[in-house]
């Protein structure tokens, strides 16, 4: 492989990894605080759709990105309320979000644009530049700092490991978790936005194609730590980049190429899970508190 191809592949990997990284970092905040976030897929779709629609009308991609983050926060709030306030099973409520966003964007798209499968294409000049890629990477050390060196991070980590310790200190576990989940919504939706108005130029039905789950796998591989998650996302990004490169190659059926990221996820989960320990209180609903908030 020539140096040029290698370089191209590397850059491509980083670009492919960006939506994954944003979603995975979002998932990191949520899960480190103790709330499982299977809804990353649905959140990405919500963000992708919102970004495409807002950019189409406002002709400003950064506005679209902002709107996407807002939408993601709102949707995540629903999941957070179900999980925290109502104690719903977090995996089920997350899946509910995913199913809703399989259908909601096409429904709205059909009403707005008379096409349920895609939104209208956005001209080149109005798409997101490369900047979000760098921003996403910068978020990694920032996340490390937030978790390890700030009050919020300390409390967030405690909420995910032993919420009783947090409650005993007189803090509100619920408030911490709401904040974490809403943050995860904003980040995941931003990842989706980058998909629709950064990599592509429109929203199409189900365009995330499982990336939200791959992001979750990257998070698990990365042992819920920022830098390791970055490497995991780069790995998956590389897989996608390779898949795209191979698409033109003769003799390889397109379906096999399409399968690469998914097979890689399986292999990764099989190989590395054993040594990965999730936050201890992950997925457990808060015990009924006499003084509920």
């Amino acid at each position: 492989m020539s140096a040029q191809t290698a370089g191209f592949l590397a850059l491509s990997s980083v670009r492919m990894a960006t939506p994954l990284l944003l979603a995975a970092l979002g998932g990191l905040y949520s899960e480190r605080s103790g709330v499982v976030n299977i809804a990353l897929e649905g959140l990405m779709l919500a963000g992708a759709f919102t970004a495409a629609v807002v950019t189409h009308f406002a002709h400003q991609p950064w506005l679209g990105l902002l709107a996407a983050a807002g939408a993601g926060t709102a949707v995540a709030l629903v999941h957070a309320t179900a999980a925290i306030r109502f104690g719903a099973n977090q995996v089920v409520s997350g899946m509910a979000v995913n199913v809703v966003f399989l259908g909601l964007p096409p429904l709205l798209s059909g009403a707005l644009f008379a096409s349920t499968s895609q939104t209208p294409p956005i001209p080149r000049g109005e798409l997101l530049p490369r900047a979000p890629v760098a921003l996403a990477v910068l978020l990694v050390p920032l996340t490390w700092y937030v978790l390890e060196r700030t009050r919020f991070g300390l409390r967030l980590r405690a909420a995910g490991e032993n919420p009783e310790a947090v409650a005993g200190a007189g803090l509100s576990v619920a408030r911490i978790r709401y904040a974490a989940v809403m943050l995860s919504g904003a980040l995941a939706a931003a990842g989706g936005a980058y998909l629709s108005i950064g990599q592509a130029s429109q929203f199409s039905r189900n365009m995330t194609a499982g990336r939200g789950f791959i992001a979750l796998a990257a998070l698990i591989l990365g042992k819920w730590r920022p830098f390791q998650t970055l490497f995991a996302c780069l790995l998956f990004g590389l897989a996608e980049a390779v898949a795209i490169q191979m698409q033109g190659a003769a003799g390889v059926p397109v379906q096999f190429v399409q399968m690469i990221p998914y097979v890689l996820t399986l292999v990764a989960l099989a190989g590395f899970i054993g040594s990965s320990r999730p936050p201890r209180a992950l997925g457990l609903p808060l015990a009924p508190r006499e003084h509920g908030r």
Binding site: R149, T150, R151, F152, G153, L154, R155, R157, A158, E161, N162, E164, A165, V166, A167, G168, A169, G170, L171, R277, R280, E290, H291
Partner: protein, 584 residues
């Protein structure tokens, strides 16, 4: 009464949980600068009362007062602000974080959003020095032994300048010398003018350290007085409501052949810093050897965390696969002539043929009816043929939990919620767990069909014999109180009936009457020829029930004592490795 207002008061507090009145018009006053003991047996309502005092629970009636002024507590943060601190029975520590991080959580030093870890460390070290507490601010809490973790909990309260400290059963997890060290700390706090409320059910502690005593029974306060002049007998009477119950009439044991022989059992800890539980690379069990004979109760004494759990798990076949591995042998003996427990008809036949026996076997079971509460023969569950010499043995290595159950090993688990019960399934389905693949429960060609009628009969019998209330078979296990849940689990395991019973904390959370019941059944089981391995953190229980007593310390057998003749001091000394005054 003139003088300064009490530091902490409960005034006519009432609290109900569903159908249970946990606190019934409770009034409590701890004088400032005193060490006040709140005493009563399990389930008396002490923890509930103090959780209300600390703001963790809202009372249905009544109020909390600090320094004489009534206050409204919306949560622990209000209590903390008023100068209260509480160390709960189950520590609320974050294992993955350091001591300093744990102590300052919620009141972190630093500007704005940043965290001043160095400052936190310094402050923690300073506090520890003041009270002569040994603690390393940078240590990860998950790696600390229990006594050290308790010190971290104390520091949490002191860091927030608590004037009143509530300690809920702090000595339950400490060895006698460590208790001494804790009491020394409490006395230093008293000298500093702080007030201490000590919840305990151990009379000796009350007499050793308390200035004042409040006794609770069945949710009510039955006495509140200075500790001076109080003696153990009177205290016991107040706690129990009558003369201390006579020790269970227990015939001397007639042990038969060994049923379980353990040789050189070693269990390593899970490797690496991420391993659960504190002591790094040291083996959890180190070359343990002993025998349990048919018809005897072997008691295992020791502070929690010295290998008892690992021992029970190893024999039950439930050792943690993530642990570092184990070595040594465990042999189950006395199988000759013993019909497979999976076939009760054959078992009944062999029992009838038990007339001719080898010399080393024990007497056949005394017909029931003599002892109140002894286990009547349960024909349905299959009977246990007395051992006939140890010609046939089975090496338990490689046998999974299923095989071990088939061989007749039953297990009352330490943690009934995690292992012993299916909280969302009903009582009937809970009562067959472990017996679900044998007749009479499972019948048919592949033993695939569940015989509903047999299940109902079996469940009803267990509920009746062990006084589980309410005895509604369709109720989910979650709906039972802790004590009733424990009786169900104990009843289920005792009714199998087993050849070897592993009983870990069998009366945890059970009130006096229920404990007596379980104890009687255990003794009856022993008399019927079963071998019982009893692990308990209640020395009283062990001394009463055990025929022989082994003490575990740091994973090794520190010694063997005769419970009839040994004193608590002797046992306590062995529990801590024989060195006096040295806390871990």
């Amino acid at each position: 009464m003139s003088g300064p207002a009490p530091a902490l008061e409960l005034r006519h507090v009432g609290k109900r949980f569903g159908g249970v009145l946990a606190n019934d018009d409770v009034s409590f006053a701890a004088a400032a600068g005193a060490i006040h003991a709140l005493v009563g047996e399990n389930g008396a309502g002490k923890t509930t009362a103090m959780r209300i005092a600390f703001g963790l629970l809202a009372p249905d009636r009544g109020e909390v007062a600090v320094d004489g002024a009534p206050c409204r507590l919306a949560g622990p943060q209000d209590a903390i602000r008023l100068g209260l601190g509480m160390v709960q029975q189950h520590f609320t520590l974050v294992d993955a974080m350091t001591v300093a991080e744990n102590v300052v959580l919620g009141a972190e030093p630093g500007r704005r959003w940043a965290l001043d870890l160095a400052g936190a460390s310094a402050r923690v070290a300073e506090l520890a020095r003041e009270l002569e507490l040994r603690v390393d601010p940078a240590a990860r809490v998950g790696e600390l032994p229990v006594a050290a973790r308790q010190r971290v909990e104390l520091l949490k309260a002191l860091y927030r300048e608590a004037r009143v400290l509530i300690l809920d059963e702090p000595t339950a997890v400490l060895a006698p010398p460590e208790v001494g060290a804790l009491f020394a700390v409490l006395r230093r706090m008293r000298r500093q003018g702080r007030t201490v409320v000590l919840i305990t059910h151990r009379l000796s502690e009350v007499l050793a350290i308390a200035d004042e005593v409040t006794v609770m029974r069945d949710g009510r306060v039955v006495a509140a007085r200075p500790a001076r002049g109080l003696d153990a007998a009177e205290l016991a009477r107040l706690i129990v409501g009558r003369e201390a119950p006579p020790r269970i009439a227990k015939r001397p044991a007639h042990p038969g052949a060994p049923v379980l022989a353990v040789r050189g059992l070693t269990v390593l800890a899970a490797g690496g810093a991420g391993g659960a539980g504190g002591t790094g690379g040291r083996p959890r069990l180190d070359g343990v050897s002993f025998e349990v004979r048919a018809g005897e109760i072997l008691g295992i004494a020791g502070i929690e965390g010295n290998g008892q759990s690992e021992l029970i798990d190893a024999i039950a076949g439930l050792a943690d696969p993530a642990a570092g591995g184990s070595s040594g042998t465990m042999i189950l003996a006395g199988l000759a002539g013993l019909a497979d427990l999976t076939d009760p008809e054959a078992a009944a036949g062999s029992r009838a043929a038990a007339g001719s026996m080898a010399a080393r076997s024990i007497e056949p079971a005394v017909p029931p009816g003599g002892d109140a509460g002894s286990l009547p023969p349960d024909r349905d569950a299959g009977s246990m043929a007395p051992s006939r010499g140890s010609a046939d043995t089975v090496d338990l290595a490689g046998a999974g939990p299923r095989r071990r159950r088939q061989l007749g090993i039953a297990h009352i688990p330490e943690d009934r919620h995690r292992r012993g019960l299916l909280l969302d399934l009903d009582l009937a389905e809970n009562s067959i767990l472990g017996a679900h693949e044998r007749p009479p429960v499972a019948v048919g060609p592949l033993r695939g069909w569940l015989d509903r009628a047999a299940i109902t009969r079996r469940a009803a019998a267990i509920l009746a014999r062990f006084e589980v209330r309410p005895a509604a078979l369709g109720l989910p296990a979650r709906a039972l109180s802790g004590g009733n849940q424990q009786k169900l689990v104990a009843g289920r395991e005792l009714s199998l009936p087993p050849r070897l019973l592993l009983a870990a904390q069998p009366t945890r959370g059970v009130d006096l009457r229920g404990s007596e019941l379980i104890h009687r059944h255990l003794v009856a089981l022993r008399d019927a020829g079963c071998a019982v391995l009893l692990v308990s953190s209640e020395l009283e229980e062990l001394m009463t029930l055990a025929d022989r007593l082994l003490i575990l310390h740091r994973g090794r057998v520190a010694g063997e004592l005769d419970p009839a003749r040994a004193t608590v001091e002797e046992v306590g000394l062995m529990m801590t490795g024989g060195g006096a005054g040295g806390a871990q």
